[in-house]
């Protein structure tokens, strides 16, 4: 896990002022600002020392607190066999992050799923549509303040429990 520390130092040098230094030093992840995320992504993929060529997993998170909407990326390098985790916080009003879909082709579907579940718009994504839910579905299901709708084109969703509860 010391790789996280090394990578955040390299990023600090390359893109000054992007990495948010955590208050107590630990190296589980790297917290960065969303603005220059696309260039950072290209950099960590092509840089000879890092070579993160496989985007393992993109996770959307809603911590429930006010500014708790976050996207966490896990990258992994097949040649150098090391992995890092990058977290990007997003504000709740109109959440948007630059898309890294052109950098890793695998990120295309992963980003669409995070959009589908959390409503985080990925700027620059070529076809940002709902991934799993039907296209006419309202609301972002995995947000903490999500209420299950009662009817979806004619079918009752909550379990009708006559004489049960």
């Amino acid at each position: 896990m010391i790789i996280n520390q090394k990578v955040s130092d390299i990023l600090e040098v390359k893109f000054p002022g992007v990495v948010i230094l955590p208050d107590e030093p630990h190296n589980d992840f790297i917290q960065i600002h969303p603005e220059k995320w696309k260039e950072i992504a290209k950099f960590i993929k092509t840089d000879s020392e890092l070579k993160f060529d496989s985007c393992q997993c993109i996770t959307g998170v809603d911590l429930g607190i006010e500014d708790g909407l976050e996207v966490r990326y896990n990258f992994h390098s097949m040649q150098l066999k090391h992995k890092i985790e990058i977290r990007i916080a997003v504000e709740r009003k109109n959440p948007s992050i630059p898309s890294i879909e052109q950098v890793w082709r695998g990120a295309n579907w992963l980003e669409r799923e995070v959009y589908d579940m959390y409503g985080i718009r990925f700027k620059g994504h070529r076809d940002l549509r709902r991934m799993l839910l039907p296209d006419d579905w309202k609301g972002w299901p995995l947000r903490k303040d999500y209420k299950t709708p009662n009817i979806y084109n004619g079918m009752k969703i909550p379990k009708v429990r006559k004489g049960w509860d």
Binding site: L132, L133, P134, P141, T148, P149, Y152, N153, M155, K156, I157, P158, K159, V160
Partner: protein
């Protein structure tokens, strides 16, 4: 067969004819491969060598037109529900439905927080036999199919319904 159905009075000839017709329908009920989720794997295991479904005359058909029994095996989600209804309507007339597994019976494990799961397939199509289990053992599926075949055998297609 519309013009022959429930047209004749109940007498010895129609009773015997009914017996033959419903025997034929129950002996060769061909099932429509409609695997959705985990129960589909158990349905495949039932159709495989150990629990042979051909023994009771059930041959898998992949087109809804040629199938009699639709085994809804797995979770019917809301996005899939309209397809289930569409396929049910395309089946030729004496058609039966077996709801296999808890998900098809009543939404099963996903009935509490499943916002995208249909709570029971009987909300959209009429179900003849409910097979409990998650997934039901191949033996309980065959027992459900035999219960369906008993139900078909008791039908009286020709005599006029009271």
């Amino acid at each position: 067969m519309g013009f022959l159905e429930n047209r004749f009075e109940d007498n010895i000839i129609t009773a015997k004819l009914d017996q033959i017709l419903s025997w034929a329908r129950s002996t060769s009920a061909w099932y429509f491969q409609f695997g959705l989720a985990c129960c589909a794997i158990e349905m495949m295991a039932t159709a495989a060598s150990r629990h042979d479904l051909e023994r009771i005359g059930m041959m898998p058909r992949s087109s809804p037109r040629q199938a009699d029994v639709m085994i809804v095996a797995g979770t019917v989600t809301l996005k899939m529900a309209s397809r289930v209804k569409l396929l049910y309507d395309q089946m030729a007339d004496p058609k039966y439905v077996i709801s296999m597994g808890s998900c098809a019976n009543s939404g099963g494990p996903y009935s509490r927080q499943g916002y995208h799961v249909l709570k029971g397939v009987d909300q959209i199509i009429p179900v003849d036999v409910y097979v409990p289990g998650c997934p039901p053992r191949p033996e309980s599926l065959i027992e459900g199919l035999l219960k369906l075949q008993d139900k078909i055998r008791k039908e009286r297609p020709l005599t006029k319904k009271k």
